[in-house]
Each structure stands twice: as C-alpha cells, then as structure tokens.
C-alpha cells in the first residue's frame, strides 16, 4: 500500500488529550488491562493500563448506546390520574469510546439501522449522537477473529469518528473520519502533529474464511436444512452469545415497581432463550434450540441484509469465545458454505 498522510499523536500526548476530554465533560471508555484480560472501562485519565494491543474484550461497548438495562420513563398513578416522566435526554452522557477495533466500530451500523428502522428509537439515537468513536487498527488477532470474512478489515475506519493506528514507535497515526472526529481534533489541535506513513504495515493479517455474499445466497432457502439441528445439538440455549455480541438487539420491555409508582424498563434479551417467543397460549413458534440457532444465523446473515441492508455480524468472534460449549460461529458458517446447495 502506498504511503499516505496522517496526523500524528505522540504517545506522550495521550495524558493531555484524556485530560482535555474529561475536562470537556466527556466520559471516556477505554480498554483496560486487568490481569490476563482486557475489558472496556470508564477512565478519567490516561494510564499505562490502557491496552492498545489487546485482541478482543469479552464484552463490547454496545451497552453505552443500548444499555443492558435502560429506564424508559417513570410513572406515577393513583385512582384517577397517571403521569409519565421521561428522562432528560439532554443529560445523556457524552461518551468517547477509545480504542475500539474496527469490528466494534462497525457494529454501530447495524445497531443504528435497527433502531432507526421506520421508527426512531430516541434513546439509542440520542446516545449515539453523543458518542464519539475512536477506532484502533488491530495489530494482533486470534483464531476467533474473522472480520475479513464479513467485509471488514483490521484497519477499516468505517464506524469510527477518529481512527488510530499504532506505529513502530508506539505513536498513533490518526485519521479524522467524521465531523465528530474533527471536533475532538479541534479541541486539542496542539497535541497532533503530521506524518506520512503506510498504516497497512502495522496491521495484522486476518485470513478470510468465507465469502459473505456467497453465504447470504447459500442461506436462501435454507430454512428447512438439516444442518441447523446437527449444529445446535450442543447449544445449551443460554444467552451468552447474544449478550456479548456488539450487534444483537433483542430486548424486553418490563415494568418495575408497584401500581402507584415505578418505571418501564428496556433490557437485553436473547433469541436463544426458550421462552423468548413463547405465546401465552403455550404455543411456541421457535420451540427447539435448533430453531433458535437458525434464527440467530439467519437474522444476522439473511434477514438483516435483506431488510435493513446491513449484515449483523462484524467478525469480532466474541460469541465463539464466550460460548461455554464452543459453538464457533465461523466454523459453522464455513460448514454452511460447504453444504451442497439445496435447489
């Protein structure tokens, strides 16, 4: 790849940048080392625990825009009157998500598409609007990663507002991708320099395991395919995969509190749960785990691209890492690709 021009952010400038962001009222999430593991956490200052060479966290940052539990509104009511108190949307936090890998940054696309589909979800969209994504190219990967198979590259800046790539010296090559990115840059111009370099050379090489569009075609008419059952035998139907996934959006609406006061809450749910689709009558359209596994795959790789024009998988491999019984998604997708197409 050719050499290009980048802004340069020196390693030493990071503390100052973080201080500025914090001072401007932003909440910063960054990948923080904790023993063997690295997980996203809120930080107010730059520290050496912030890991810019992690492979992947267990949990994504989905929760910053689609919290695992979100209060929609409070209500109060008595015998004759009821009132609803919405949250103050203007008080929603201004988040800077620091150091997400391209898969995670890209994951906001399907979230956005879902929460915008015909009906705008004010909660999500407000949070998203207040969020600045600082992406980080991947210098490492593991066998679970398969971003290249879902048309994302370890260096792609799609979904990020600012894109960082760490160079040999440990400094960052910076791309300003969006206006929001520009704002951050403008806020701390003095910390940035200029450099020209070839960022591709610092990036890990993730092998491509399958072709996304081929897969999409293969899935057409696969509804009755026998492989769903074969693949899902071991699946124990927990929600681990969906809960770590940066793009899964299934949720539940619940009331909490008593009749006179309380709140309505939106909280994560998973299509893998047996009672997810259970009718009150006892009938369950997705009664078996294989039907639910099929829903998971088809939703991401067939229904979403069809209905909202975006795939529901970013190749981060989280679900495969988290699954207690090794339901490795890319392995299964490859197997589906290998199936003779049933015409």
């Amino acid at each position: 790849m050719a050499t290009e021009n980048y802004k340069l952010l020196k390693k030493e400038s990071l503390p100052a940048l973080f201080d500025k962001l914090t001072a401007s009222g932003k909440t910063i999430y960054a990948p923080v080392k904790n023993g063997e593991k690295t997980e996203f956490d809120v930080v107010t200052k730059y520290s050496n625990d912030i890991n810019d060479e992690y492979i992947q966290t267990v949990q994504s940052l989905k929760g910053t825009v689609f919290p695992k539990v979100e209060k929609l509104f409070d209500y109060k009511s008595d015998k004759t009157d009821t009132s609803i108190q919405e949250p103050d949307f203007s008080k929603f936090p201004q988040n800077v998500l620091w150091g997400l890998h391209p898969c995670d940054a890209a994951a906001f696309r399907p979230l956005d598409a879902t929460f915008r589909w015909d009906y705008d979800d004010k909660y999500f969209l407000t949070r998203m609007k207040l969020t600045t994504v600082v992406g980080l190219s991947c210098s490492k990967h593991d066998d679970y990663c398969f971003c290249t198979s879902v048309d994302i590259s370890p260096a792609s800046s799609d979904g990020s507002d600012i894109m960082l790539t760490k160079n040999k010296a440990g400094d960052y090559l910076v791309e300003i991708v969006t206006e929001k990115g520009q704002e951050v840059y403008d806020m701390a111009k003095e910390l940035f320099g200029e450099i020209s370099d070839d960022k591709e050379s610092y990036i890990t090489d993730v092998p491509k395991k399958f072709d996304l569009n081929e897969l999409n075609k293969n899935l057409d008419g696969s509804f009755e395919a026998p492989y769903w059952l074969a693949q899902s035998m071991r699946c124990i139907g927990c929600g681990a995969c969906a809960y770590v996934c940066p793009t899964c959006t299934c949720f539940d609406l619940q009331d909490e509190g008593a009749a006179n006061k309380g709140s309505r809450i939106k909280c994560w749910d998973s299509c893998g749960f047996g009672h997810f689709t259970l009718h009150t009558s006892g009938h369950n359209p997705r009664e078996t785990q294989s039907q639910r596994w099929r829903q998971r795959i088809l939703h991401k790789f067939s229904y979403m691209p069809d209905r909202i024009k975006v795939f529901g998988c970013m190749g981060c491999g989280r679900c495969s890492r988290a699954c207690p019984v090794d339901m490795n998604i890319s392995e299964n997708l490859i197997k589906i690709m290998e199936e003779p197409k049933n015409e």
């Binding site: 008595d78 015998k79 008593a258 009749a259 006179n260 009558s281 006892g282 009938h283």
Partner: protein, 667 residues
C-alpha cells in the same frame, strides 16, 4: 374488576379509643378498587352485619375487608354474613386492628396509620382472593381396627355399638393381646381373663364386626373416608366353617415340643394348635414351620382324626380388599427379651425370667396352674428378686424413656407372690417408684406395707449363679451405694416395653409417622393424642406408647369417638385452603417438573403422582398432585417448590406477595 368494601369497626371504644376509625375509613376509600369504606360502632352486631350485607348487594362488592378484631375471633361470623349476602365467604378477610393495633399501641397518628396499613394490606390480599368451595369427600362408614388386644377390642366394640361396620385384623390366631396373658391386673387384682374373655366373645359374635385373625394388612391406599386396604389372610390350613373347635387334632398332633408363645415358652404346644383355651376364635391353625407334613411331606394325622374333615393342607394365603373410611391402630407393644440383658444372665439361667413369664406362672390357666414355681426345677422360690427398669430409662441401652407399667406390675407381682408363697421374700430393685394413677400409689404401698415387699433403690449390676442360687449384685443408693448381694431362687426382670415388632413396617405401609422408638406418633402431643398425622387414622392403646389397660381402653374409646364422629357425616367438609399443583396449556401442562422433593416434606403424605396422558394413553409427563382430601394446607410444600409449581389457596403467591408489597409500599 375489584369492588372492595372496607368496614371499620370501633368495637365500642376498644378500637376507636386509640385508632381514628373515621380516618381509616376515609383514607382507605382512596385505595384503588375500594368502592366503599365505612366505620361503625359494632360491626359484629346485627345492624353491623346487615350493613355489610346491604353494601354487598348494593355495590356489587367482589371482596370485603372487615377491620376489627382478630380473624381468630370473628372471621367465621363475617364470612357467614358475606355468604348470606351471596358473596363467597372466602372473599372476606379481616384486618386485625384491635389485638394487633389498638390494644397494643397508644392513641396517636402512628397507631391510626398502622391501622390503615393493615387494612391496605388486606385489601390487596382480598383483591386476589378466589372464591373457594369447601371440599366434600364421601365417607365409607366402615372402620378397620388393626390389632385385637384390649385396645382394639374396645374400639371395635364401641364403633360397632354405634351402628357402624368394623373389620378387625389380628395377626395372631386369636385376639386378646397381652391382656389375655396376664394373671391378675393392678390395681384391683381382678382376673384378667375373666374380664377380657367376655369382650373377646362379644367381638366374635357382634353382627357389625368382621374378624380376620391370623391376618395382616398388606397395603393401604386412599385417604380419609375412602381408604382401600388389602388384607393378607394367612393360610390356617383349615376350613373354619367346617371346624367345630373340638380340639381333637391338637391332642393327636405328633409334634409336641414347640414352645408356646402364649405361655412365653414356659409350656409347649403342638404344630396344630389353639394358642390358649379361651382363644377367640377357638379354632386351630397349623404352624407350617413345624408341621411334619409341611416339612417332610407326610403325616396328616390331624386330617385323619378330624371328624368334620376341616383340614386343608393346600390352602394358600388369601388377599382380600376392603374399603374403609377410618382406621384404628391398636397393634400394641412388646417387651424386651433375651440377649438384651447379658449381664443378668437372662436366657442363660432358666430362673431369670421376664414379667410376662411371671404373669403366666402366676396365672391360674398358666403352665403351673397358678402356683409360683420356678422354671428350672419346679421348686417354689423362697427368695425372689424383681428388677424394675430392666432396660428402661437407660440411655446406654438406647431406651431413655420410662416404660410406665413396670413399677405397677412389679408391685403386683410382689403382692401375687406373697399371696401364694406366704413365707417367701420379695425384693424389688427400683430407680423411682412411679405410681401416678387412681389408686396406684395405694397399691404400691400395699405391696410394701401389707405384703412386705422389700424395695431397694438401686440398680443391679450383675446376676450370676452360685451353688444353684442366683446371686443378684446391686447397689443401694439410699445406703450410700452400698453393695447389696442377694441369693435368690428366681429373678424377674421388668423388661422395657417396646414397640411391637412390625410397627415400623406397618407405619410405613400406612404412611403414619412414628417416633425414634418406632411407636406411632400422635398428631399433636396434647391436643390430638388419638389422631395420627394422616387424617382418618387413629391410635389406641400401647402402640402409641406403653400404657396400662385403663389408659389403653380410654384411648381406644377416644379413638372410637373420633371414628364415629367422622362417620356421623355422609360427606366430609374440609377447609378448601389446600395446596394445588398448577396446570398450564400444553405442551407444558404444568410447570411442575416432577422432582417430587415436595413429596417428602408434606407432613400428611398428601402429594401423589399424576400422569398426564395423551389421547392414546401415552404418558406425556408425570407431575405432582395434591390430594385435596388429605392436604391440611400448611404450605410447607409451597415454599419448597423451586419452580413455584405448587400454590396454596387462600395464601397464594400472588396474595402474599401483594401483601408484602402493600404493607411496605406506602409506609
């Protein structure tokens, strides 16, 4: 749609003195679902009740909360009133603002607020109450009495005389139990058999009593009012209809050396035998274990001699099934025997005997025809030592309880001995003399004072033989634990009374509880001493605990009254507050997963298995089922069930949850 009426009672001034009843009514009228809330001086008075009834009709109330005294006081009153107004009585609840509020707190706002909270809680509960119907179960008016000792006999006769059918099952060839073995009885010293035999005959002849001797209960199913019992009639090898009881067979049987159970091994019987002359029924049975024909395949002497050809060698055990509405357990007790007292040489020395053996020796119908002669050589013992508490109250032997009868019968034995052997000396080792009972203490004093029994307070450590004498070594605790040694001709051990041998097994068959000593457990030690935990099964006599005859008979009559009380109804009406296992739409059918952990917590064995079957009879699921006729509504199962599959009517999850919520929500 909830339409609740709240009725706040002043109870004269009992409530209104500290609680602002008007305010309670006013505030509670704002609770959603409350359509009327009023206060009144005396709710339980006629006008008060009429007011409630009128509101029920006028306001079409779906629930009533009476804020007044304790429900333990007036719940029936107000529920009846509601019922009369056409509201299901179980849709009425009481808020206890008197005992739990006005009487225990001072007059102030806090007290009024508490009253309001109590009402609110009950309003939320009653909103979730369901109309309940009292449970009705038909009653089969036949009783089964198990055990034909004096207790069983008494119960059977009492019940039969009330006009109900009774089936009696006795495992021995004759009824009579231990009492028939006794010589004379304390404290009156009347002849045991003389008073018992007529009653035994009455049992046999009573038109309402069906007697099965040589029979045992095989299994029990069902529940109060509706038991199904399988009875095993052991083969007697005899056609009882043909047998006239002439006894010829028993005299001709060549097997002569079987120790007689009735005489406690002090005499012998034949292989075909009647246990004792007054036996009821007075017909023999063949003891298959000892009969030569059954052992070797030949003999048949009895068959040959029988004038009516009543012997049936090919007879087999027969299982009959009967339906009964109640059971009386009267299987009695037993006493500890050989092996249990190696230190006393019991079983080793022929002249160390137990109390029952002494009874036989003292009995006019016994092996010695009532003369006190010792087993070894038939000599009349001149010095005789009685040991009370042989095994009883002895934790080391595992029997920490008092056998209750020994003190008395030992005194009796001493008296009987002195009456028969005037020059003899009776020594009695005892721990304490327990003689509580009408004329009991007088009786023991008589033994000491009139009949000169020598009471020594202390334990016997050892008995051994020396020169044909039994040396009894003990300590006299009243004499500074001085060692006492007595050269006795005979020793009688008042061995501990214990549960009858098959008690545990029987209890398990019948699902009644039993204590650690295998005596059957009463439902409540004070208030329900003749009932078991299993509704419809009652206790009589020594099977519950060792007792003497008067106590056994009294309890037996008590049990009979319980049975007759039960039988005085064609149907049983039970509190509908029972547990139910939920049912849901298929394919789940119920959230119960059939772990049956609930089964073992239920104190009443009310939980059964229910199979849910498809149309073609395939078992789809096995779930728990609570038999509403048996469940007493304690709810112990409810709190155990993890998946919340059992609920208890009247105290449902929804109800109690709402109560907790309401009580705290606005506090």
């Amino acid at each position: 749609m909830a339409r609740i009426g709240v009725f706040v009672c002043h109870c004269g001034e009992n409530i209104s003195a500290t609680v602002d009843c008007g305010k309670v009514a006013q505030v509670t009228s704002d609770i959603p679902g409350v359509v009327v809330s009023v206060d009144y001086k005396y709710m339980c008075s006629d006008p008060g009740q009429t007011m409630i009834k009128e509101y029920i009709e006028k306001e079409k109330l779906t629930g009533v909360v009476v804020a007044a005294c304790s429900p333990r006081m007036h719940e029936p009153t107000f529920r009846r009133a509601c019922g009369e107004a056409g509201l299901n009585p179980f849709l009425c609840e009481m808020a206890n603002v008197r005992e739990h509020c006005s009487w225990v707190h001072d007059k102030n706002d806090v007290t009024t607020d508490k009253a309001i909270d109590i009402v609110r809680t009950l309003v939320e509960k009653v909103k979730r109450n369901e109309p309940l119907m009292p449970i009705k179960v038909p009653v089969t008016k036949t009783a089964l009495v198990i055990g034909g000792g004096v207790a069983g006999i008494q119960s059977a006769l009492d019940i039969a005389n009330c006009g109900h059918k009774v089936i009696m099952v006795e495992k021995e060839p004759s009824i009579g139990g231990h009492m028939s073995q006794l010589s004379e009885t304390f404290p009156t010293l009347d002849c045991s058999q003389c008073i018992l035999t007529p009653r035994m005959v009455e049992v046999a002849q009573h038109p309402n009593i069906t007697l099965y001797t040589y029979a045992e209960v095989e299994s029990l199913d069902g529940f109060i009012g509706n038991f199904k019992v399988k009875i095993r009639k052991k083969a007697k090898s005899l056609d009882e209809k043909l047998c006239t009881g002439c006894g010829l067979c028993c005299t001709k049987c060549p097997v002569k050396n079987i120790p007689s159970e009735f005489d406690q091994g002090l005499s012998n019987r034949r292989a075909i035998y009647v246990p004792f002359p007054q036996a009821v029924p007075n017909k023999p049975v063949i003891d298959k274990e000892h009969c030569t024909y059954y052992i070797k395949g030949k003999c048949k002497v009895c068959e040959i001699v029988c004038p009516t050809k009543a012997i049936r060698f090919d007879q087999e055990d027969e299982i009959i099934e009967v339906e009964v509405g109640a059971l009386v357990l009267a299987t009695g007790f037993d006493i500890k025997r050989a092996n249990f007292f190696p230190e006393y040489g019991y079983g080793k020395y022929k002249d160390v005997i137990d109390g029952l053996q002494f009874e036989r020796i003292a009995s006019a119908s016994g092996p010695t025809l009532g003369e006190i002669r010792r087993p070894s050589d038939g000599q009349i013992p001149k010095k005789i030592v009685f040991l009370a508490c042989a095994g009883s109250r002895d934790p080391a032997k595992g029997i920490e309880y008092c056998s209750k009868i020994c003190c008395m019968y030992t005194a009796k034995h001493a008296i009987l001995y002195k009456h028969k052997v005037h020059d003899g000396t009776a020594y009695i080792f005892y721990m304490d003399i327990r003689a509580a009972g009408k004329n009991y203490d007088e009786f023991t004093r008589r033994a000491i004072e009139e009949d000169g029994a020598k009471y020594i307070r202390g334990r016997v450590s050892r008995i051994y033989e020396r020169d044909g004498k039994l040396i009894v070594v003990g300590a006299d605790t009243l004499m500074n634990a001085k060692t006492v040694e007595i050269e006795a001709d005979m020793v009688v051990l008042a061995t501990a009374g214990v549960a009858s041998p098959g008690a545990e097994e029987l209890a398990q068959k019948l699902h009644v509880s039993y204590d650690q000593h295998k005596f059957f457990a009463e439902a409540h030690p004070k208030l329900r001493p003749v009932e078991t935990n299993t509704a419809g099964i009652f206790l009589a006599g020594a099977c519950q605990n060792v007792k003497d005859i008067p106590e056994s008979v009294a309890q037996a009559s008590g049990a009979a009254v319980k049975v007759c009380g039960l039988f005085s109804n064609d149907e049983l009406t039970r509190d509908p507050s029972v547990a139910v296992v939920n049912r849901t739409a298929p394919p789940l059918f119920s959230t119960c997963v059939g772990c049956f952990l609930c089964q073992s917590v239920c104190p009443y064995q009310a939980i059964e298995k229910e199979e849910i079957k498809s149309r073609d009879g395939k078992i789809l699921k096995t779930i728990a089922f609570v038999n509403p006729s048996v469940c007493q509504g304690c709810g112990t199962c409810v709190a155990l069930c993890r998946s919340k599959s059992i609920d208890i009517l009247g105290y449902t999850h929804k109800q109690v949850y709402a109560e907790v919520d309401a009580l705290l929500n606005t506090l």
